[in-house]
């Protein structure tokens, strides 16, 4: 009897936000010693459901059982009491504190604060599961993957037996992902219940034991990972048949459109962000840009779009007749008029490019509101454009007068990319266009980019998922610490090779050297 009782059982969980039903009578079991992958499109309510387990939201209806016992989780503190730890997409750490200080922060232990004892306990946890962190290192000195490790250790330190990870691999390199998976497998062996939310199906297959699928807030079904395949999982998530291959048409008459020569950018506090970058962007081609987040991708695109102060170097726009025009030092508006469109999807999705509190048609207006001599804005065209984007990209919204912040992430991104494409650009710069997007929406975006490419637009695609980059891009520029560590052909490049180039300069040479040795 004992081992059949699930670690967590959710029964009839319902949560609504205003008119939006985020979870609709969801039943879900999570067992000890197993990794459960929770799948679903954007806005299907995965994170909301997990937030109710971790005490951030309180369900409107339904019951939660921990080890067969009905509980009421009203705060994150309650969640910890029941052994539930959640690792959020955005880390909740104090930058100027050390790992140890962050881990013990907020714990009300009796007696004196004993940092040394805490550090020892942390080291013990690390040894048990195979983590490698220095407890005395400050958070701001850590890489993204190390910060994530601190979050996981923090949960374990508080005695978590049930661990929830919300898209843990979105910010990791392939090598770091491997390490994380090894640790998670160790924890599974130790009898912990692990829930992982992810959009990457190959990771689901690699790691999980069981898969549960949510769609539009409702529980659709579950199956053993070994009995299913990406096609079936996708169909369940989306609710209808989808094809899982990214199209890659051959480039049409590729010719240089933008030439970047020795571009160097430093941040306001003097940190070198881009260091003598050289490459060209070609019309009719998708140029992928790979790199660990924060390797200078943002600065690069912003420098091209005129939003970033450039230290030295040139960005040359090449007209059809071969005339070259310097973009550095130009006003963003002038660059926009040349046909350079930037759609940058930041971490919070709304921070740049869209205004959350404005409705769809007002957001469409952001690009066009200056048109015409009148002092008043023209509202008809943006309104029509909004309706067109909603229809063509299948944006899921109550209407064009809904504030953008009410839409789910995927739909927000469709609105942003749709607007940029509607401006008929000659150069389309996209960064993280599918960030956190589900498969169906991602494929819509890939398709949009491919159509732009076929129309002769020079497309730049900054991405996080190497698999996608390798399937979509014609050429890939790999950035590492603000420098170009290599330019590879998307059709022939090897994933591991690109992964190495992302982590160290000239990684490809090192691999070749190693190959020679062996």
């Amino acid at each position: 009897m004992e081992n059949t009782t699930p670690a967590v059982a959710l029964r009839g969980i319902t949560k609504t936000f205003g008119t939006v039903v985020a979870n609709d009578h969801v039943d879900l079991d999570i067992r000890k010693g197993e990794i459960l992958a929770l799948l679903g499109e954007n806005g299907s309510g995965k994170t909301t459901l997990m937030n109710m387990l971790s005490g951030i939201y309180y369900p409107d209806e339904g019951q939660i059982f921990i080890n067969g016992e009905e509980v009421s989780i009203q705060s994150p503190k309650d969640a910890f009491r029941y052994g539930i730890g959640m690792i959020h997409q955005h880390f909740k750490l104090v930058d100027v504190f050390t790992a140890t200080e962050n881990i013990i922060l907020g714990l009300e232990e009796k007696g004196r604060l004993d940092r040394a004892a805490a550090s020892a306990k942390i080291r013990e946890i690390c040894d048990t599961y195979g983590f490698s962190i220095d407890p005395n290192r400050k958070i701001y000195q850590m890489s993204v993957s190390q910060k994530q490790t601190v979050e996981i250790v923090k949960a374990l330190y508080r005695g978590a037996d049930i661990l929830i990870l919300d898209e843990p691999t979105a910010v990791l390199t392939p090598q770091e992902t491997e390490k994380l998976f090894a640790v998670l497998r160790n924890m599974r062996a130790d009898g912990k219940a692990i829930i992982i939310i992810t959009h990457k199906l190959h990771e689901v297959q690699e790691l999980s034991d069981r898969v549960a699928v949510l769609r539009k807030g409702a529980y659709i079904g579950e199956m053993m990972t070994k009995d299913t395949n990406p096609q079936e999982m996708t169909n369940m998530m989306v609710g209808h048949q989808v094809t899982l291959n990214i199209r890659r048409p051959d480039p049409v008459d590729p010719k240089p459109r933008i030439e970047i020569k020795g571009l160097t950018v430093t941040s306001p506090d003097g940190v070198l962000k881009l260091d003598h970058v050289y490459f060209d962007i070609r019309a009719g081609e998708i140029l992928g840009i790979a790199g660990i987040s924060g390797s200078g991708q943002k600065e690069l695109l912003e420098a091209i779009a005129g939003l970033q102060r450039v230290e030295s170097g040139q960005v040359l726009y090449i007209h059809d007749d071969g005339r070259k025009e310097e973009l550095v030092g130009r006003d963003p508006l002038e660059i926009q008029k040349l046909g350079v469109a930037l759609s940058f999807v930041p971490e919070d999705r709304l921070g740049m490019g869209l205004v959350g509190n404005m409705d769809l048609s007002d957001n469409m207006m952001l690009r066009s509101f200056r048109d015409g001599r009148s002092v008043f804005t023209d509202r008809k065209h943006p309104h029509d454009l909004a309706e067109k984007v909603v229809e063509e990209l299948e944006v899921n919204t109550p209407g064009v007068s809904t504030p953008v912040r009410r839409l789910s992430g995927g739909n927000v991104q469709k609105v942003l990319v749709g607007r940029e494409i509607a401006s008929a650009p000659r150069v389309l710069l996209t960064a993280y266009a599918v960030r956190g997007l589900d498969i169906n929406s991602s494929y819509t975006i890939y398709d949009l980019l491919n159509r732009q490419k076929e129309e002769g637009v020079a497309v730049v695609y900054v991405g996080e998922d190497l698999d996608v980059l390798l399937e979509l891009a014609d050429r890939i520029v790999v950035l590492c610490g603000g420098r170009v560590s290599g330019i590879v052909d998307g059709r022939t490049a090897d994933k591991n090779e690109v992964g190495m180039m992302m982590t160290e300069l000239g990684g490809s040479e090192r691999i070749r050297a190693k190959e020679k040795e062996s």
Binding site: T4, G68, M236, Q241, G351, L354, V355
Partner: protein, 401 residues
């Protein structure tokens, strides 16, 4: 069998969007509730009949023709200041310098009236005064705006400090122009010639003020809602990064909008000096630069809504004053009532957006919990049940295509 977990006593959740009449219904309930609470407090503390007190309050604001005109004048001035603050507030620039900007406008007006009073006809003097007032107010707002645009200084503190500087400047000039010497007061400016005074139209000295502000209200509504500038202001207010990204010049938008804000404050100063008071004192603005902040917030920065919120605040203020004199109560008593009413009105906004669930009255009542927890406690059987249900669904799903 197992311990029933303690459910939260109260938990809140976001409401579905309410229709406008439901929202106003909640506001109405809030006002009624406020009046009941005020009535109780009145009876307990003063022993007066609350209905009588309310009647006096109402009479204080609307009782006579003259009182209605004064109410209109005061609403106009307060509304004018609120309109001035609104474009800045929409841009999330917290201009708390209304007082100072009004004083500077008033100072500009008074200077023109005193220095140039006898040198030109009224038809020329009035525009000159207006230009001086608008210019002075705009400059007073421009200084913090420039610093905000250039160095991202904190506008709240900066505009607040500018108020003190303005007060001191006015205090200085009051001594320079004092009449008679040594009195420390300016007295009525151009009392005999009435040079620079706003003309009395249709036999009422407040009507022109009210008409000016009415036109300004409509103009501001159109400017904020339909103009390109208004759109830029909203974008900058919501997200500076987005504004930069679409090529809006953020610094220039801040400067332009604050100059408009200051200019209208300056114009209010003009109305106060040339239209109603005909004198200059350091307390001319009388704290209305701050009351206007509340007016603007209550109306959620909608110029048309501000007509209502300004009316409400002035009504409460005048009514409170009246009950203080009529019942020989302390002035503070009126303020207590005003405070209670405002508290209920502001709190009603919470109930428009959220609803509360109380323990035992929610949807997750104890009876329902009992029935569905039973299968889990009995162990294996139900699990198989769910599994089969799931796999059935799983099979069905792709077939749905």
């Amino acid at each position: 069998m197992h311990n029933k977990p303690k459910e939260a006593l109260i938990h809140m959740s976001k409401r579905k969007a309410l229709t406008w009449y439901q929202a106003w219904g909640i506001r109405l309930i809030a006002i009624v509730a406020a009046l009941i609470v005020c009535a109780v407090i009145t009876s307990i503390t003063t022993g007066l009949n609350p209905l009588e007190v309310y009647a006096t309050m109402f009479a204080g604001a609307f009782g006579t023709k003259r009182r209605i005109w004064i109410l209109g004048k005061e609403v106009a001035i307060l509304l004018c200041i609120s309109l001035a603050l609104t474009p800045a507030f929409r841009m999330r620039f917290w201009n708390l310098g209304g007082e100072g900007q009004i004083l500077m406008g008033a100072l500009g007006t008074a200077a023109c009236m005193i220095v140039m009073g006898d040198t030109m006809p009224n038809a020329v003097l009035i525009p000159v005064c207006i230009i001086a007032a608008v210019f002075a107010g705009a400059v007073w707002a421009l200084i913090p705006a420039l610093c905000k645009a250039r160095w991202n200084t904190n506008e709240t503190l900066f505009t607040l400090m500018m108020n003190y500087v303005a007060t001191q400047l006015v205090a200085y000039f009051v001594i320079v122009w004092e009449v008679p010497k040594g009195s420390g007061k300016i007295g009525i400016i151009n009392q005999s010639s009435k040079a620079g005074w706003l003309p009395v139209i249709a036999g009422n000295r407040y009507l022109l003020n009210i008409l000016c502000v009415a036109m300004l209200t409509i103009a501001m509504y159109i400017y904020l809602t339909y103009s390109k500038h208004g759109y830029e202001i909203s974008v900058v207010g919501e997200s500076v990064a987005t504004a930069r990204y679409v090529g809006i010049k953020v610094g220039w938008t801040i400067i332009r909008t604050l100059m408009l804000s200051g200019a209208i404050c300056g114009f209010t100063g003009y109305l106060l000096v040339a239209g109603t008071d005909h004198t200059l004192t350091t307390t001319l603005a009388g704290g209305q630069g701050f009351t206007a902040v509340m007016v603007a917030w209550l109306a959620k920065f909608n110029p048309l809504g501000m007509v209502l919120s300004a009316l409400l605040l002035i009504f409460l203020g005048r009514g409170a004053g009246e009950i203080a004199t009529a019942f020989t109560l302390n002035q503070s008593f009126g303020d207590i009532l005003t405070g209670i009413i405002l508290f209920f009105i502001i709190a009603s906004e919470f109930f428009i957006n959220y609803q509360l669930h109380f323990r035992g009255h929610g949807h997750n009542g104890p009876d329902k919990g009992g029935s569905s927890s039973a299968p889990l406690a009995s162990g294996r059987a139900p699990e198989g049940e769910t599994d089969s249900a799931n796999s059935k669904e799983k099979r069905e799903d792709p077939a749905n295509v």
